[in-house]
Amino acid sequence: MNPFSSGTRLRDMIRAIRACKTAAEERGVVRKECAAIRASINENDQDYRHRNMAKLMFIHMLGYPTHFGQMECLKLIASPGFPEKRIGYLGLMLLLDERQEVLMLVTNSLKQDLNHTNQYIVGLALCALGNICSAEMARDLAPEVERLLQFRDPNIRKKAALCSIRIIKKVPDLAENFINPATSLLREKHHGVLITGVQLCTDLCKTSTEALEHIRKKCTDGLVRSLRDLANSPYSPEYDIAGITDPFLHIRLLKLLRVLGEGDADASDSMNDILAQVATKTESNKVAGNAILYECVQTIMSIEDNGGLRVLAINILGRFLSNRDNNIRYVALNMLMRAVTADAQAVQRHRATILECVKDLDASIRKRALELVYVLVNETNVKPLVKELVDYLEVSDLDFREDLTTKICSIVAKFSPEKIWYIDQMLKVLSEAGNFVKDEVWYALIVVVSNASELHGYTVRALYRAFQTSAEQETLVRVTVWCIGEYGDMLVNNIGMLDIEDPITVTESDAVDVVEIAIKRHASDLTTKAMALVALLKLSSRFPSCSERIGEIIVQFKGNLVLELQQRAIEFNSVISKHQNIRSTLVERMPVLDEATFIGRRAGSLPGAASTATAPSVSLPNGLAKPAAPLVDLLDLSSDDPVAPSSSGGDFLQDLLGVDLSPASQQSGAGQASKSGTDVLLDLLSIGSPVQSNSVDILSSNTSNKAPVSPLDDLSSLSLSSRSASNAGPVIDLLGGISSSPPTENNGPVYPSVTAFESSSLRLTFNFTKQPGNPQTTVIQATFTNLSSNTYTDFVFQAAVPKFLQLHLDPASGNTLPATGNGSITQTLRVTNSQHGKKSLVMRIRIAYKINGKDTLEEGQISNFPRDL
């Protein structure tokens, strides 16, 4: 007997593991136990299988791999005794899940056990089936389960009912077979059977309308009666929880009634009385009672309208909301959320309380409350609500800010009554939580600002002020930089002053300071820096006095490591130094961004840009593509008749960032790629194919001009499509280069045979072939020849390879090797080299055989494989 297999008892193992002081020590103990269990498994040890499985389950819970025990589960299940089966099924449920193919092997055992004479074994099988059965098993075993729904023992009936739920979930077509047996369960008195029957019916109703109709017609009255009997039942110690008889059954009955009442006036009518009774009579000082009330309110809100009941329900929720218990408040918020659709007015009454919950200590409650506030906002209450939320933003937890910011932004965008209010709120959010603001939100803000011409001066001054205190908020910095670039002159000269503003004095160099801080801040990302460069270019023309300083800043970026910045800096530098005459025209203020297009893009569906592949690759002289591409129009200085600037929202970010100085960059051929500004990778990849990326731009601009419903926002679609288009060429080239270079001799055995191993007694030669089209895999034919004068028996060849190789051994042609080369054994090996072309094959071998019954072992390493295998 194996010295391990007697092993330790389960209890001792657990003790040993618990006594470990370090994780390493624990691993050691587990490793030893696992080794013992494996040894015992290999010996097919019957006596300890049961205990080994228990140990394995414990080891599994600690998080160690236990897959080697899966087959043991099956063996235990197949054994005749109850204790073995019990532990086997437990192991099956714990160590396996329904996606493992091993599970299919158990179907037959399950079938036998479902028909077993011992009802406890039937129970075990039902339990396993209910917890982990897959669709195939469900199909195979459904008839057995269906039959067991009528079993004499109620404990089997209830298990079968729950099992049926799983089966129906896996295979909805089987639902109709279960309708009749399920409805007969509803007449049971045994609570376990009744509650499982009710759950089965609820699931049937959800899966099949036929079942819903049937149960609604046949069973509604019976269910109402059951609920009434239950609610009025006298004290019964077996089911009593806090003075209520079986609250679980209450809840499941209410749930089924809800499904039946939804959308059916008659059924709803018949349950009104009992719902009113439950809603008014249930004690609400314990969890169980509140759980029933909560379920009852849900049912009342879902079934067909009954004014009186709804008032009752909303009142219960109001009571819940003011409860001191957090759990109760949480469910109240949860329920009010669903009640909004039924009766928004009633929910509005609790607005103040809900708003308080947004500021609760408890993250779960805050989240629920915020979602509820979000649906409660309308045109009339938006201002006070947003004020509350923004005020709270300042003190909120960091991990809650992201949610809160998103919601505020979305509320503000949806309900803002006027632009100035919108801009004010957004600035507050940006300066409080700018780092949580999503890209499309600040894009939208820029679009709005650009459209509010009377507020340009006001906005840029407000941003300037905000920047002084909140320069660490990335998105605030971006918007500020953009606005200063566009409207810097208004900042300095106090143009467009509103009555509500305090005048401020900002010099030209103060304004440049802001941009300089933004560009030099380490935390600024590429987009911000790129935007700052564009702003500087614009300011260089607007503030002649600072022109020299700006020039210096830009020059510093000429050596930047990031291609995008370097390229911009070089381009802008040459604009400033060499093209004075066109500079002022070049950096004119952006035309008003098209709000409708932007909104359309955000709301629209997928783009019709599928035709990118067939896009005409227009490459006009000087790289300027005419067809109405707004980007090009803006910059097309050489053109005599500029098309009216019709910038589309979708491209505006490109406009903002990719002030693509085509004349300057075209010669280099690299400038073409920098459309999206943020995507360095794209830039790198598309450098070689300026024409392709150009054509994509033209196309997408076209589509956005013609149909503002084009979709997905701006950059993502654009950069994706241009990426794929521009990638295609070079990538194929690269690959083509590789795949065509290996000689076409793949078909024949071109590699010389090798004597892989030779000793005084044995020679091993390898012949190599490769399958065409699969250069990684080599088929090796190994031939063994006996050089001695003895016959070898029990000949076994073993081989091992390093990780980058995969080895497959076919069976050998025999296991006896005749003496003195009078015959040979051949064996085929298949080796797949994952590092093909980089590393060549190596292999370690071991050959074992017997000479006259005496074991002999030869070992060696083979490294004389031909190269490039």
Partner: protein, 161 residues
């Protein structure tokens, strides 16, 4: 429907896991890691519900153990809380004022009891007495089998003497 049941100690050690929805072994350990961090870090006065990956985790702490049940979003959280309590009371009656050590050394019994309370992610039995009666009956079967085995081996031992 209940997707899984977890018992985690305050140190984050797993004491029981039961999966009613398919999660691969990898996902399982990820879920356990994520949830134990989420649940154990919550303060004592907060509500017992955590929203997680579009599902809802209801948890309750008993002494050093956290009992967690992961539910669908629309399930009744208060009822789930009662189910946890129901299970704990059943354990308590079985072990006689249960403690964490009972559940460590007799983890398989905790599983057997759970299998009588829940099945397929649904509630199976609401009477603690019935549950314990079924467990007792099955343990009798195990004992009977053991006795039979030992008497058999006695007979064999005598026969081979």
């Amino acid at each position: 429907m209940i997707h899984f049941v977890l018992l985690i100690s305050r140190q984050g050690k797993v004491r029981l896991t039961k999966w009613y929805s398919p999660y691969s072994q990898k996902e399982r350990s990820k879920v356990i890691r994520e949830l134990s961090g989420l649940v154990i870090s919550r303060g004592p006065k907060l509500c017992n519900f955590v929203e997680w990956r579009g599902l809802k985790v209801v948890y309750k702490r008993y002494a050093s153990l956290y009992f967690c049940i992961c539910n669908d979003q629309e399930d009744n959280e208060l009822e789930t809380l009662s189910i946890i309590h129901h299970y704990v009371e059943t354990l308590d009656r079985y072990f006689g004022s249960v403690c964490e050590l009972d559940l460590i050394f007799n983890f398989h019994k905790a599983y057997f009891i759970l299998d009588e309370v829940l099945l397929a992610g649904m509630l199976q039995e609401t009477s603690k007495r019935t549950t314990l009666r079924l467990i007792a009956a099955q343990e009798e079967l195990v004992e009977a089998a053991k006795e039979e085995a030992s008497s058999l081996s006695n007979i064999i031992a005598q026969a081979t003497k």
